[in-house]
């Protein structure tokens, strides 16, 4: 099957001989010899030099078979379309949909590629790159136009631009910053204080207050200040803390900050912020054997027995510790908020709240 195509410029009747230029000079600037854009197609190209040649031109039987193959592939695409309709009709199923979509697109693509590779002219064509830049004359003309215009504008009225437009425009631009500032509130207390308050009982995520004895020795629990268990609220987000029972008797030689730990009947409670001092993830991988807390995000490791000093990884500071007390009826409560800002560092962390 030969491609019969008539060039636009020489379509003057004699379409008997198939012709198609084997090579075109493209590019808006055209090559030096003038055979560039718009040059009429020479219609005296000898047939053996045309680019209607394609890999299967001399094997019409094979070409025919390939046409059938392509047709079949595209019919599969159509079939997949029907399949998809049925699939959606019956409620849909992710894997079936994926398979049908993949098959549909795959067959469509395979058909196109087979066509392009075996049934379309396969020879490389050579063209001129042309010139992608302007010549000196054109450049000079632009400069001339620009300065002619600017001169006309600025002559004796330059002060309008320099003394009025620029400063006034600047003021107007600064005014635009105000709506931008309204995007976020002043950060106020959020970075310095959490929702913990003196006397806040430690509760679990369901609001149940924690008593001494609730945790086994080496037990771990995420605690919240009473009344602030919804940690998805900005005012509560920095409050989650880890309550650990490090035992009382067996491990008395462990170095823990006096006043932050509560011991009672074989239990020794310590409580640390759950917000990593590195990047703020929830630190609660608890390795009982080494008494370490590990952050799941960047593997910062804190030694519980040294007041959660960072011993490995990028965290630069210990996890802040919550001072604990035990009420007469056995509930654990906070003596105060954390004594230092919780979570990752920021420019003014050392400053006043």
């Amino acid at each position: 099957m030969e491609t019969v195509r008539e060039g636009t410029a020489s379509r003057d009747g004699e379409g008997e001989r198939p012709f198609e230029l084997p090579e075109v000079m493209t590019g808006t600037h055209g090559p030096e010899d003038g055979a560039g854009t718009g040059t009429p197609w020479p219609d005296d190209v000898p047939p053996e030099q045309d680019d209607t040649w394609f890999p299967l031109r001399d094997q019409p039987w094979k070409a025919r078979r390939l046409e059938y193959l392509i047709a079949s592939l595209w019919m599969v695409t159509g079939g997949c379309g029907i399949g998809l309709m049925i699939c959606y009709w019956t409620g849909g199923q992710a894997q079936v949909e994926g398979a049908l979509l993949a098959a549909a697109f795959g067959c469509l693509g395979a058909g196109l590629v087979l066509w392009a590779r075996f049934l379309l002219p396969g020879q490389d064509v050579v063209g001129s790159r042309g010139i992608h830049y302007s010549d000196q004359e054109e450049r000079a003309a632009v400069v001339a136009s620009l300065s002619r215009g600017t001169d006309a504008m600025m002559a004796r009225r330059g002060f309008l631009v320099k003394k009025v437009l620029v400063p006034m425009g600047g003021i107007f631009g600064i005014a635009a910053l105000w709506p931008l500032a309204s995007l976020g509130p002043r950060y106020g207390r959020f970075l310095y204080h959490t929702a913990w308050y003196p006397g806040a009982r430690l509760v679990d995520e369901n609001g149940r207050p924690i008593r001494v004895g609730d945790l086994e020795v080496d037990g771990v629990l995420t605690v919240f200040p009473e009344g602030h268990t919804d940690d998805t609220l900005p005012q509560n987000a920095m409050s989650p803390a880890v309550l650990l029972n490090i035992g009382g008797d067996v491990i008395h030689e462990r170095k823990i900050n006096v006043g932050f730990e509560q011991r009672s009947g074989g239990n020794g409670y310590v409580c640390f912020s759950k917000i990593c001092t590195h990047a703020g993830c929830a630190v609660t991988l608890f390795n009982v054997l080494s008494m370490q807390l590990v952050c799941p995000c960047h593997q910062s490791t804190f030694n519980i027995l040294e007041d959660c000093k960072p011993v490995f990884g990028p965290a630069p500071r210990p996890l802040p510790q919550l001072p604990l007390l035990v009420s007469p009826d056995g509930y654990l409560y906070a003596k105060s908020d954390f004594v230092e800002p919780v979570g990752p560092g920021f420019w003014n962390r050392g400053g006043p709240a």
């Binding site: 979509l101 469509l108 490791t301 560092g345 420019w347």
Partner: protein, 528 residues
Amino acid sequence: MSTVAERSTARKRALLEEKVLDEIDDRLGTSKWLRNAMDKIFPDHWSFMVGEIAMYSFVILIITGIYLALFYSPSGSVVVYHGPYAPLDGQKMTQAYESVINLSFSVRAGLVMRQAHHWAADIFLAAIAFHLCRVFFTGAFRKPRETNWIIGLTLLLVAMLEGFSGYSLPDDLLSGSGLRVVFSIIQSIPFVGVWVAFTLWGGAFPGTSVFFTRLFVIHEFLFPLILLGLLGAHLGILWHQKHTDFPGPGKTEHNIVGSRLWPQYAIKSGGLFMFIAAIVFGLGGFVQINPIWVYGPYSPARGSAGTQPDWYVGWLDGALRLWPHWEFRSFGHEIANPFFPGILLPGIVFTIMYAWPAIDRRLFADNEEHNLLDRPRDKPLRTAIGVGALFFFADLTVASATDLIGNALNISFELLIEILQYGSFVAPIVAGVVTYKVCNLLNAQNAHPIQRPVGGIIVRDARGAFHTLGAEHAHEAHDGDRHGNGGDSGHGGEEPGLEAAGLEAAGLEAAGLEAAGLEAAGGEPAGG
């Protein structure tokens, strides 16, 4: 076997085409441009199609993204879920998370679309990265193409941000943790960090109810618009400057060899598009990605092992893991730890990459225009630096998976991190030196030159006559290669087309090109 019937159909079609085009031209004068466009020649080396893979992935991203946006609800207000997924029944969650759960469980084709969208994003970035490497190692960024290098890098940067903002939209545990880390990184910027973070989030982390609206606008509108604009500029400049090509027989700095846009290149390209769609949707249906129902709704108190970003942000996550526990404090102020790996490192990396065309110009004292590409070995220094950088990124990316690698290989993450910390210095240097040596070795041996199958190249000379450079010349060239050069022809055995190995080595005199009056190719005879 063109029959009379077929010919008359062709003529009818031609008449129709003419009529339509006439009508259009009457109004817009498009004919000249259109003919240029259709006859435009594109070199079709396979590695030039990687940019197209990125482009078509982007098209798929837009199409699937529009579908997803029809169901996503960008709201941080809290709702109680009652739906088909039992483990979340009765739980409080943001409307954003609920809408993505519903999208995955209740919407027709929702899960496939969502997964395909995510896979397309991963492939989009992978294709951009590969394309960047191709451009870098072949020197395609050299004059006059520096502008497109800069636009391309900006595309990569915006695509990364776009990908991350999409990863963050569902408000599941994984995306929440990612946002938490990003909030901390922004907060760590000196002077303005806290203000910027609070401004973006509309308040303290995890943000007020406006946050997801903003994130949605950014992901859905701002970044895609920037991407579209930059992509348009990228392609427009490519169109104007024309594609680069590898040196080879018949190729010069002033000509271009390839397929015409219409129909060969367009059909091939369309076929590629369809294959991309097939793979993306196949993955979308058969390989699970980001199962947000498993991660559950985000809360700052929750965490999950294996908290990683998508692969293209992995190198930054790895940098956060590898950076030592340093912070700088003085005069009551501090530069917090995440600033260095999270802001400074990518800042330096992108600055170097943006400046690379200028650096390269000075490095090789080369201010010439180049339309023919370098082979990587031609510039051992550039190639060595590039390979070193790749090893650096690979090291950081591996570092973002320390816990998983530790789990899989039963190695402690402490050891892995230490190895990778040293590795981030040692691996790039070693890889760079080795690459440099290998390049020189290859140059000395002249092994495996760039070659292309010479089925037949038609060349037209200044007088308008046509010459076919075909198999008959390939034989000559091959002989020449064997006798004169002794270079390897072993690689030619892979496929018949490569029998012409060494055509360029033999020079174009052998091919008789000069006699044809065409400017001699082989401006960069690979044979040396």
